[in-house]
């Protein structure tokens, strides 16, 4: 990239520009790490202080923003409606490497019954099993395994080393990150006659709807019977465990290393922190917000609340409890003091 600040202002349909229009911009950076050839942006009021100290060559900022004090004159200030949108669309256009071109690399194993349109990328060392159906504009990176009967929708990316076990269905515009395992057997046993643990046959499947992301090395188990489902817009970070028959509702986002045990239903539009544990056969209501490292062992039926702790309580209650817990080391001696006083009186 090599653009002047004026050219950038034009590209993002700026409302107003303050400063030198001839500054040369060659890269992107955050406000606090930018140098004079970088473009940066300001959107979150929390970081307003960074504005007055930035060394960026140009900064995108909201058209309705009024700075508390004078903005540095060595920077060109470009006012737009949505600076984050404008910034990320420039990053996408000028910095994001293109995806591989359509075509097939050598050493792909493709079952003759698989349906693969021309407009797809099939990397080296990919395994595409019997009856697999790919839509147009699917990228299958090297070392991806697509088991028999897998179906994948348009504009979906399967990154290297992803494992998609048989009969999994993945929608459009999804991203399956490296090393993710979709559709492995659920963890279920019953007491057999000769064996303590007899494996319950896992004959269900995983259905992933449109616009879903599954993070690196995350596991989504197939259903015992029926379906494990990630609804439209679900975003899973890395190293997450999703047990058999779990249902995750639309646009719920979950941070890394969280685990959801079998047959639990998580509602829509939830935000779940990292390292959270949710036990089996529970229900978590829509729009729940769960702090990192929480533990959920009972269903949450009231929607739209914030939860924290293990076992969880509503955030306010849990924070109060935690504050008093930290006072216990002084509280205990006070109790003894009272007892001593009373025993003497």
């Amino acid at each position: 990239m090599r653009l002047t600040s004026s050219q950038i202002a034009q590209e993002v349909q700026a409302q107003r520009v303050q400063g030198n229009g001839e500054v040369i911009i060659t890269d992107f950076a955050s406000l606090d790490s930018a140098t004079k050839q970088d473009l940066s942006f300001f959107a979150d009021p929390k970081y307003e202080n960074h504005l007055y100290e930035t060394k960026a060559g140009a900064v995108l900022l909201p058209v309705n923003f009024t700075p508390r004090r004078a903005l540095p004159s060595h920077t060109t200030w470009i006012y737009v409606n949505r600076p984050d949108h404008a910034f990320y669309s420039l990053v996408r256009r000028y910095k994001l490497p293109p995806l591989p071109s359509w075509g097939r690399e050598p050493y792909a194993f493709i079952h003759p019954s698989a349906q693969i349109p021309e407009e797809t990328y099939i990397g080296a060392f990919t395994y595409i099993g019997e009856g697999v159906k790919l839509a147009k504009r699917v990228w299958v990176y090297p070392f991806a395994y697509l088991g028999a009967g897998v179906e994948i929708g348009e504009d979906t990316i399967i990154y290297p080393h992803a494992v998609i076990m048989p009969n999994t269905r993945i929608g459009r515009e999804c991203i399956i990150h490296p090393g993710a395992v979709i559709g492995a057997d659920g963890f279920g046993f019953y007491q057999g006659e000769n064996r303590i643990y007899e494996r319950i046959p896992q004959v269900g499947r995983v259905i992933i709807e449109d616009d879903v992301e599954v993070g690196a090395n995350t596991c989504v188990d197939r259903a015992t019977l029926g379906v494990t489902r990630l609804a439209r817009g679900v975003k899973l970070d890395n190293l997450i465990q999703v047990g058999h028959n779990v249902q995750i509702g639309e646009y719920t986002a979950i941070a890394a290393q969280t685990g959801i045990a079998g047959s639990t239903t998580v509602g829509a539009y939830c935000r779940i922190g990292g390292q959270v544990g949710i036990a089996d056969h529970l229900y978590v209501a829509d729009r729940s917000s769960i702090t990192a490292q929480s533990g959920i062992s009972r269903s949450i039926t009231a929607p739209g609340k914030s939860w924290r702790g293990a076992p969880v309580q509503e955030v306010r209650q849990q924070l109060l409890m935690e504050a008093i817990m930290r006072k216990l080391p002084e509280l205990y001696p006070r109790l003894r003091e009272i007892e001593k006083y009373l025993s003497q009186s």
Copy 2:
């Protein structure tokens, strides 16, 4: 599958049938999701309510079961000794897809010294190193890596992308799920002369006995010296960490995302929940039951008890403590009230 309820009754050697024997059954489902062409079963008394509301075409239930109220007449009721056994054996026969046939797919890398019987499946893109020995009826799926000297017993399945590092021994009837890593180096360092962390050479191995499962993306590290051992019947869920020199006793089952640090011994017949942490060099007695998210930092020497919390206490004690913790927000003001009263008196 397409069977009448009578044919099913015959297959499972039913003791008694109540209802229409000519119902056509084509699939399997749980009581609450079944439709009129589905077979379901009832075994856990906890779900008795589902019986009276099921839409299943036929249901297997225990011969000695007496319903609390009338069973719906639109369902055929088939009484057997063990409904779960009967149900799962039908699922296995009619619904579970067969494993791949014996033979070799193209693009396998097989060291000439490897011993591979005819009755094995060797998938595409498998790597089978020097001196590997496979028994009969072993399935090695695509992208499996079997390092030098690996030995695998009869009827074992190695799923796609499993990594079996050199000299690992795996018994009969085991299942290694996708992305599992068996025998990577343990995490051990000593202070060197030039370096702060000098790697301790990890020259032990992993031995996995018969009838063991290792979940997707689970890691079992090789021993520093000697052996990391999963005894007969151990069941590990996904994303578990088993450190170097850990010993896990017979028929112990462990849920997802639990971690066991180096040199710890876990006894037999334990049941360990998800996201549990067990520190290094400890002992956990046989038949211990550990609640999810617990933390174990001291050995558990008494067998057969239930533990909860971090650090763990016996469940009853821990639940009592948790209950009182939740009362702290009201307890604290009461203490202040007493102090105030006494200071005035």
Copy 3:
């Protein structure tokens, strides 16, 4: 290996030998599991009791060590300056299997623009993308994926199934363990016009300095902009999550299943236990020591302290609080007793 105890004494430049110099040693073992043909060593005073009960044929021990009681006469005692150094260097010489020889196995996909010196090992089923640069003495094991523009320094090992995404730079003498994913996209979204979650383009990279280890199935995400950095000597165990733009300082060691959220900086020489969670945009000071399963949701600014709990407190304070928490079940009735007494008086 087949050496007499005298030959071993000579190899390790022993200061003094006590006992039979003709004992035949063929293997290595820890003090408590050694048999009469094994060499063992003693370094940690905690295990002194093992000395008096060992069955080892020979034991290395510190030259300045004075046993509390008589050492068994069936063992040859070899006194050296650093018994651990001596022991591990013998293990390395006589027991550690050699790494593969230089050369290329069949079925490697190597982009014509990649720079690969002769002195490298390129395993079967490796994918080496456009513009990759390997230094001398690099081992790339089967199923490793090296994306476009990856650079790897001398004497580094990339184990099977490691995924190194484009533009990652890895230094010298590093070890990337099986299944590790370096440089996958960070987890970042902004609110779009049509979609709730619009993906923030992740165009930064990962830089791993010299002498770093990344454990099996551990994930290190690329930066959104800029760099995610593991500084010299960092040691990461298995199944760890390192978010986008995280910085980890020199010689910090982190145990399995810990997660560090985006944009957090962890200082140098820290020791972090397993299953710890560290929230985003925080700072953890140099030489911090964090107990396993802790949760860090505020920055730690004072260096060199020990922390425990969720949320963390200094270890002493947290242990005191935990001790009193365990007393709560008796404390609560005592409070009620006081209230009752006062209400009657």
